[in-house]
């Protein structure tokens, strides 16, 4: 059994799913699971961490931590960890996690493995698996030396545990001395698109020329809204002016590798396949059973996308509601 600290991530008053994954994995292995949450006005949010397996919850309330900044976060986390001296520290391999945790590791002079996809706990030790060479090889990493060892874990790699709302945990208020900070976040300006970028989204739904018009992409957007997906397009669709170039998936556009890629009315020219074939699961919807996309797809639906996509939207909605 190890003493594990998990740094929680939250934004806009909501905890990130990736944090729940870490808590779940740690708790499932029977570890002493500590959650560490930083921010301002986060007392209520902190309690939710218990539902996913946190035994103890360390809360750092500080106005300087209201908005995330690498400098303030790494200082605060380093201070708490120094006092608590855990065996293992985990954070998500998100833009935030990969920003502050390496800084903390450097401050404490300890090792860190990034972008891990699998964790195995053994007593107070941990072994992690991580891909290298763009996923061509997987390596197992063990840590040498003393001190807390650190890892950032790829989101969606471990799975979100079922929450147990009956669970509670001890809340420990921590105070940190941040001193004079060199940077201060004044304002967060959000990007114009509510939908995630195709390169970052876990699910991408792309449409081809067979959508026939820019307006018809609405049916893909509806499905995307249900799945929290990004909407991409083939070169033909972009050339036809249905979508902007930044949505183009393919050799000359964006290269994506989401967990799920749904290709609607895309024939699967090599130019397109080169941009999405490393997606984990590929679903293709096309009327022509001969078209090349079905060679690359894990699941194929031979049918009219105008009939199939709304059905999918409907069914996914039902699943989400339950």
């Amino acid at each position: 059994m190890a003493k594990i600290f998990i740094v929680a991530e939250h934004r806009d008053g909501r905890l990130k799913k990736a944090t729940f994954e870490l808590l779940g994995a740690s708790a499932a292995a029977g570890n002493e699971t500590h959650a560490l949450i930083l921010g301002e006005g986060i007392a209520e949010l902190a309690k939710e961490l218990a539902h996913y397996g946190a035994n103890k919850i360390h809360v750092v309330e500080n106005s300087a931590l209201k908005n995330y900044s690498a400098e303030a976060y790494s200082k605060a986390v380093a201070q708490v960890l120094k006092a608590a001296s855990p065996d293992i520290v985990l954070a998500s391999h998100t833009p935030t996690g990969r920003d502050f945790l390496p800084r903390v590791a450097a401050k404490l002079g300890v090792g860190l493995a990034s972008d891990c996809t699998q964790l195995s706990f053994d007593g107070s030790k941990i072994k992690v698996r991580r891909p290298i060479y763009a996923g061509k090889v997987l390596v197992d990493v063990e840590f040498l030396g003393s001190g807390p060892v650190m890892a950032t874990v790829r989101p969606n790699a471990l799975g979100v545990p079922k929450p147990d709302t009956s669970k509670t945990a001890e809340l420990i208020q921590e105070t940190v001395e941040l001193g004079a900070l060199k940077t201060k976040v004044l304002e967060i300006v959000k990007g114009s698109s509510a939908r995630p970028d195709v390169t970052e989204a876990p699910v991408v739904i792309s449409g081809g020329r067979s959508l026939k018009s820019a307006e018809n992409f609405k049916i893909l957007e509806d499905l995307a809204d249900v799945l929290g997906a990004a909407v991409g397009a083939s070169r033909a669709a972009v050339d036809a002016g249905f979508r902007p170039h930044r949505d183009q998936v393919g050799q000359t556009g964006k290269v994506v590798s989401p967990t799920l890629y749904i290709a609607c009315g895309i024939s699967g020219a090599i130019q397109h396949l080169a941009g999405m074939r490393s997606s984990k699961v590929i679903v293709a919807i096309n009327t022509d059973p001969e078209c090349p996309i079905f060679q690359a797809a894990d699941y194929g639906i031979v049918g009219d996308l105008f009939a199939v996509v709304p059905l999918l939207t409907q069914e996914f909605k039902k699943i989400k509601e339950h």
């Binding site: 020329r209 033909a236 000359t252 556009g253 090599i270 996309i293």
Partner: protein
């Protein structure tokens, strides 16, 4: 000697002296170019091509109307020049004419003079009609052309007037030979007295001579420099149609710069190319980039490079090559350089054998290897070629997957074969092209040809890298492939990709790769001719064939793919408006396959429209890139349900048993 001698000699010497001085400067500028070009091999063939194309005007006559016009003016001027020579001689040494050749020969010569003058004048009329009335896009506007037409027309009129007054004055017996001048003389003869007529004859002789001298001064600085440059340029042209790009020697550590950053980094032959250009615009007429509103026109590229050279004249002549301005300017900008599909239509069309593509690729080399300036979408192409040996990001372990279930062997398993089947990246990874390779493998089996593939040992030939300008990457891949093929002692290679074909056949020999290379269309035509394969099932369809540039214009193969189609029972071959060496590119060559086409109309759509005009049910091709581009074009035109794009190997496989 008369006063005429003393007036004429200084003027003539001054004019010719100045003209010689200007030519000498042009020659110095040409010599100052840093690039090398060795072009003195195979002298007999060079003499032959000069006779055929300069004296015989064959290339010029490819375009009939203007060709006949040019031939008339060209030969007319050669004859008239002998007349001009007589005038010079008789002016310097009073009374000395060519009459010493004998009365009958001289009469014949006079007749020729009159005929030639008429021919040139008619030529000038036609040229003026074309330039000012018809106004083809190719010609554009040209001050030079206006001056030249005015000069030439005036010259001919002066000759006729001179001869007419001679007939009316001192030489009435000329009338027997000079039929046009005689006709004119009967209308002018009564105008003046005999001495006045004689004086007017002398006057127009002077007019004629002074215009000729003016011409001598004017030529070196005008587009009519082609009078002098086009002949040598023809003699020094690249002889065989198949040409590879010149390799860079990366072992030579004294080389400080790759590719051309300045005009002077190109070779002396490139300068001779500009000197030879008459701005006829035939290159532009056929250019797929120009015809789809891209900023590239091969004609303007040549004249812009020429102007760049002239603008840097003083620096070049002073030997200050470091101060010469950059080749990329507002005229020759990066959009111009990246618009080329390397289809080589410009070079095929050029009547004076200018080589446009070499210049573009030398400039690209500099942009890519020295300045890292290229369209951003090319970055992953280079990266994929470096890490995966393919422009597309697919694993080399998957190269042989297309052949699963076909019991195709790799060279590692069996290298004792008749021929190596070079699959290429498209054949290995493109789902559409995998079918073509499966069809071709099936054909080889039917014809009992023993073959193997390289499988995961094959890598991209390097063609895309080379055309985009990354010579280093090309050479890395080329050397690795040659090493692999030589290790298996490969003698014969067949490939379904014209780009691989061209590279292995024409470019690998510079790096120690010498093979007998066949394109699959040649190979299939051969199998059919030898009776090893006979299509027996009929295919009742109208088929149009789209020529791949790297098969056609680069390697002169037009008949073989067509033979494959016409060997199929019931198949009807129809041609598009542009075909054979006049064909329109699909838009994917020269690395354009991996670039976005953001400017103007898409080339593949323009070509697809030509294919659809034929009402053919099948668009056949023999190139994976062409198939991709034509398929995209047909999807764009929403004709997917009516027209199929197929490789000729698929057609043959379907119709043979």
């Amino acid at each position: 000697m008369t006063w005429q001698t003393f007036v004429f000699l200084p003027i003539a010497l001054g004019a010719f002296g100045y003209s010689f001085y200007r030519f000498q400067l042009l020659f110095q500028m040409m010599k100052a170019h840093r690039g090398n070009s060795n072009r003195l091999d195979n002298i007999p063939a060079r003499i032959m091509t000069t006779i055929v194309n300069v004296l015989g005007q064959r290339a010029v006559l490819e375009n009939k109307g203007p060709g006949i016009m040019h031939t008339a003016i060209f030969w007319g001027f050669i004859i008239i020049t002998t007349g001009t020579l007589e005038q010079f001689v008789s002016t310097i040494y009073q009374g000395a004419t060519f009459e010493f050749m004998g009365q009958s020969l001289y009469s014949g010569w006079l007749f020729l003079q009159d005929l030639a003058t008429l021919a040139v004048l008619l030529g000038v009329f036609y040229a003026s009609y074309r330039r000012y009335v018809v106004r083809p896009v190719a010609l554009g506007k040209s001050k030079d052309a206006n001056i030249v037409l005015l000069f030439t027309g005036s010259l001919m009129v002066a000759i006729f007037l001179m001869n007419s007054f001679h007939i009316a004055g001192t030489h009435p017996w000329y009338a027997n030979s000079l039929f046009v001048s005689q006709w004119l003389a009967t209308r002018l003869g009564g105008l003046a007295s005999e001495p006045t007529n004689a004086a007017l004859g002398t006057f127009f002789k002077w007019v004629h001579m002074l215009i000729v001298l003016g011409f001598a001064v004017y030529i070196p600085r005008s587009k009519h420099l082609h009078l002098v440059a086009a002949g040598p340029n023809t003699f020094l042209k690249t002889l065989p149609r198949e040409k590879g790009m010149t390799p860079i020697n990366f072992e030579d550590e004294s080389v400080q710069q790759y590719g051309a950053a300045k005009v002077t980094d190109l070779s002396w032959k490139d300068a001779l190319d500009y000197y030879s250009c008459t701005e006829c615009g035939r290159c532009q007429d056929l250019c797929p980039a120009f015809n789809t509103q891209k900023p590239l026109t091969p004609k303007m590229l040549i004249t812009d490079l020429k102007h760049n050279l002239y603008a840097n004249k003083d620096k070049i002549l002073a030997g200050k090559l470091d101060e010469v301005s950059h080749i990329i300017d507002q005229n020759v900008n990066e959009d111009v350089i990246w618009a080329c599909t390397s289809c080589r239509a410009c070079e095929i069309a050029c009547p004076v054998f200018i080589e446009h593509t070499d210049k573009i690729y030398d400039i690209r080399r500099n942009l890519v290897m020295m300045e890292s300036r290229f369209p951003p979408e090319v970055q992953p192409v280079f990266k994929n070629m470096e890490t995966n040996g393919s422009p597309w990001a697919f694993s080399s372990a998957d190269r042989a997957k297309w052949a699963e279930g076909l019991s195709v062997k790799t060279m590692a398993e069996d290298s004792n074969v008749e021929v190596l089947l070079w699959v290429g990246c498209a054949g290995s990874y493109d789902e559409r092209n995998k079918k073509v390779l499966r069809a071709f493998a099936s054909i080889l089996k039917k014809a009992e040809v023993k073959f193997s593939i390289l499988g995961s040992e094959e890598q991209c030939t390097g063609d895309p890298a080379r055309r985009i300008g990354n010579e280093y990457l090309f050479q890395t891949l080329a050397k690795a492939n040659i090493e692999t093929m030589n290790r298996y002692s490969v003698k014969r290679v067949v490939t379904a990709c014209p780009h691989c074909y061209n590279t292995i056949k024409n470019e690998y020999k510079n790096f120690g790769g010498n093979y007998e290379v066949y394109h699959h269309s040649e190979f299939m035509a051969k199998l059919i001719a030898e009776g090893k394969l006979k299509p027996t099932k009929s295919l009742d369809a109208t088929i149009t064939f789209h020529d791949s540039c790297y098969l056609g214009r680069w390697n002169n193969i037009y008949a073989d793919p067509r033979k494959v189609i016409t060997s199929i029972p019931s198949a009807r071959l129809v041609e598009m408006t542009q075909h054979h060496d006049q064909s329109l590119c699909c838009g994917a060559g020269g690395g354009r396959m991996w670039m976005e086409e953001k400017i103007g109309k898409r080339i593949n759509v323009a070509r697809t429209e030509q294919a659809l005009e034929t009402n053919a049910e099948i668009v056949a091709s023999s190139c994976p890139f062409c198939i991709t581009m034509m398929t995209d074009g047909i999807t764009t035109k929403e004709m997917k349900d009516k027209v199929k794009v197929m490789d000729i190997a698929e057609l043959l496989d379907q119709t043979t048993t």
